[in-house]
């Protein structure tokens, strides 16, 4: 695996964490109840913390003098390599929870495998993040159950979110040349191998929540190679505004 490929692999992880963290932080002050507002903001902060660590490591790999802030805030849209799922708008709370549930289930399995990585930084990062992500999973899956098994309205909303987001779950399990190189080096994870276990977990929770699991069909993809949805530019416009207007601003 070349240094460039490892950089790319790390940036993908970092961008997933950064963009999901940014999305979740949009709920800050707008949560349905105070306690949930804090819960979701905690999750957002966990993601941003993970992104910081990954960007620091990526900056070292790159060795071009960019730091983690420059990587996070000063790239163009096609240089971001997060999957499409995490950049989708929050929608209602059901949609945010369903996205979190799908992603955290995958991310937990991914990190569990990554903790066995031969790469010292990646395995340590995975080990540390697993505890956080397990809680994100617990929080979101509990809410899927409550909404599914709740009122007619909550059931309808969470089912709608699950159906809508399903087409975006496929990208998590796709492998390209960079994933393959990371896997062969003993550094990365075989995403394809996670799909079955992911399906089983999702199916068990949806079943408990009296919800229908959509059938696999066509899946959106492109985020991993920098081809994003129309939403990505708006996220960056808000996220990058301060650093672009006041370069190097600190507080």
């Amino acid at each position: 695996m070349t240094n460039d490929q490892l950089f790319e692999y790390t940036v993908r992880l970092a961008d997933n964490a950064l963009i999901l963290g940014q999305r979740l932080s949009e709920w800050c002050g707008h949560g349905p109840v105070l306690e949930e507002d804090i819960a979701l903001t905690n999750t957002a902060l966990d993601q941003l913390g993970q992104a910081t660590n990954l960007f620091k490591f990526a900056a070292e790999l790159e060795g071009k003098g960019r730091d983690e802030d420059q990587l996070a805030f000063l790239r163009d849209v096609t240089e971001y390599k997060n999957i499409l799922l995490v950049e989708l708008p929050n929608g209602d709370y059901a949609n945010t929870i369903a996205r979190q549930f799908f992603y955290s289930t995958y991310y937990y399995l991914f990190l569990r495998e990554l903790s066995k990585s031969k790469h010292e930084f990646l395995s340590a990062f995975a080990e540390k993040s697993l505890k956080e992500v397990k809680y994100h999973w617990q929080h979101s899956s509990d809410w899927v159950k409550r909404m599914g098994d709740g009122t007619e309205e909550s059931h309808t909303r969470i089912q709608k979110a699950i159906n809508f987001l399903w087409e975006y779950t496929g990208e998590m399990f796709m492998m390209d040349a960079i994933d393959q190189a990371a896997l062969e080096a003993g550094y990365g994870v075989d995403n394809t191998a996670l799909k079955n276990e992911w399906n089983n977990i999702i199916s068990a929770i949806l079943n408990e929540a009296t919800l229908e699991m959509p059938a696999d069909g066509w899946f959106h993809k492109g985020g991993k190679i920098g081809r994003h949805s129309e939403h990505m530019g708006f996220i960056l416009a808000e996220m990058q505004f301060l650093q672009k207007t006041y370069p190097g601003a600190k507080w």
Partner: protein, 95 residues
Amino acid sequence: MNKADWPLWEIFIRSKSGLAHKHVGSLHAADSKMAIENARDVYTRRMEGVSLWVVKSSDITASSPDEKEILFDPANDKVYRHPTFYEIPPEIGHM
């Protein structure tokens, strides 16, 4: 979901150094599991604790302020209930 429908829970945390759970505040939650999760998010963000208790506020019976005098005043003049009331023989030394 209407928060008005959620019962109030009292939250108790045992800190790393403390032996007993201490009352830290209250929050709303639909059930005890949610109360634990909410308490984790609201009250243990700065490593305050190693254990959580949640109790439905409605399950707590409190003494009435009106009974303050009959409950607590009689203890006022019973100094012999404090260990310092008793003189310790010199041969015992420092306790």
